[in-house]
Amino acid sequence: MGHGHSDNVQRVTPGPLPVSSTFKAFFLVLMVLGAAVFGYLLFTDKERAWHAYLAGYFYFFLIAIGGLFFSSIQHVTKAGWSVNVRRFCEAFTAFLPYAFVGALVLFAGGKSLFDWFDSAKVHADHLLEHKQSYLNPTFFVVRVIVFFALWLLFTKKLVGGSLEQDKTGDENITHKSVGWSIAFLLVFSISFSLFCVDLIMALQPHWFSTIFGVYCFAGLFQSTMAAMILFILFCRKQGLLTGYVDENHLHDLGKFMFAFTVFWAYIAYSQYMLIWYANLPEETIFYIPRVTGSWVYVSAALLLFKFVVPFFALLSRRAKRNPAFLGAIAVLILIMQYVDLYWLIYPNLSAEKVVFGVPEIVIWAGFAGMFMFAVTRFLSKHPIVPLKDPRIQESMHHHVVY
């Protein structure tokens, strides 16, 4: 409240993000290290290699598609406040082509991850045979390719349009984005849900939860906001966003992160409570390994650090307007997002005890390197603020009272 408008702040027109060659080299080293450990693990412990791959892959896929989702809801709501931060979520979509390649690679590991990839196992199991018309490798590959084709098409239309507007300033692009975004949201709700079912829920093909897609979506939104906040804090520290993005924008992103922290807990609880109450064997098979043995500690950590701590930490207005504090909570949420995916995927590999070590970290870091390489490359080629967006003045004078 006590601050003036940003009019009297000295502004530097934001250009592309300068990415030093040291950074690029660092990301490449991470990628190579990840690939090397993955390759080594393929020969020593194939199943673990593919589970680590899936966790790292899915983690960054969620943030990439989350970037497209967030920018599309900004277009649909014709939001003005978010114009100056929109380029960051658009940048996340630069990972989608890499994610497509990553999905193609994942097909090779199908047999190590999914029982229904193996026709011998399918014939031995009546339920798998029953579900075969949907859960079979061919249809799986077709689905994933179709989904990525659609997502990349919408990326081209929405993010590509935004980049074109940087050059032409054509306001019709803004109008057209509304229609494309509505279409994307419809496609997204179905395709994303099915994609989560295919990649994560089908690890345990006997189990089903109708809320599973929403569960993944909650983590997607939470982690996308956290990633956006960290990118913005980095660029602010470099002085690249002075006069363009201030604590008012952080406040609103923080509100989103807070809201979807609550939403995640709400969905996680809804899924748990119904299964716990009904107590049906075909549903409880998912939770039994996760509430017994050493996995119960991971479950407790999720409740505590993915909901309780960020909830109380982000409750106050001051916390959301304090860059250092908000950044710390964003880091916590990003760590817990990995724990969440790990908790979804790894009991499939080892139901009795928690398996975690250097391979998981390095393979995740490999994907992190790839993600950062793609995103910083995007940001180094385009201005980090869509300067010719017709609603930019709204974002310049964004002022959050409460």
Partner: protein, 184 residues
Amino acid sequence: MDIIEKVIQRLRSPGKKGIAGIWLDEHKLVHAAREARKSGLTKFEAISPFPLHDIDAAMGIPMSFIPWVTFIMGLTGFGFGTWFTWWASSQDWALIIGGKPMWSLPAFVPVMFECTILFAALSSVGALIWLCGLPKIDPPVIDPDLTSHKFALFVPEDDTGFNAANIEKMFKDMGAVEVKRTEF
């Protein structure tokens, strides 16, 4: 009848005597509020037909304490929900449902959650009403156009350093279209 009379008497706000300046431009009101604050006045009120940006900063109004009411009453509601489900389902009238333990936390989270929201929401609204001195019946009206296109600043006589002549001059200097002695 007697009771109703008494309640109405209590709700009828007596109104303080003071001086009001009236402007036709909201920016001038914000400016006037800032100047009034600078001159040492603290108890003045601003009246506007719509919410104004920066007026709370200009008037020096601190953050409201209502968020604290919400927070503490939310915790209270959570505690109450926890206690009540425990007492009702395992102490006062223990029933076995679905073979679950008497006090099964997952089943009672919705009750605890709803109590949190109910306590937090109702007490926030209650605190707001109390803080605004509502309800008020028949309050003094400075100018009926203040709900349409005029903006006013009202300084009560009991404000610190109240000096009628100084305030009238200050309001006029800042372009007030009308300055009057009134009640609010």
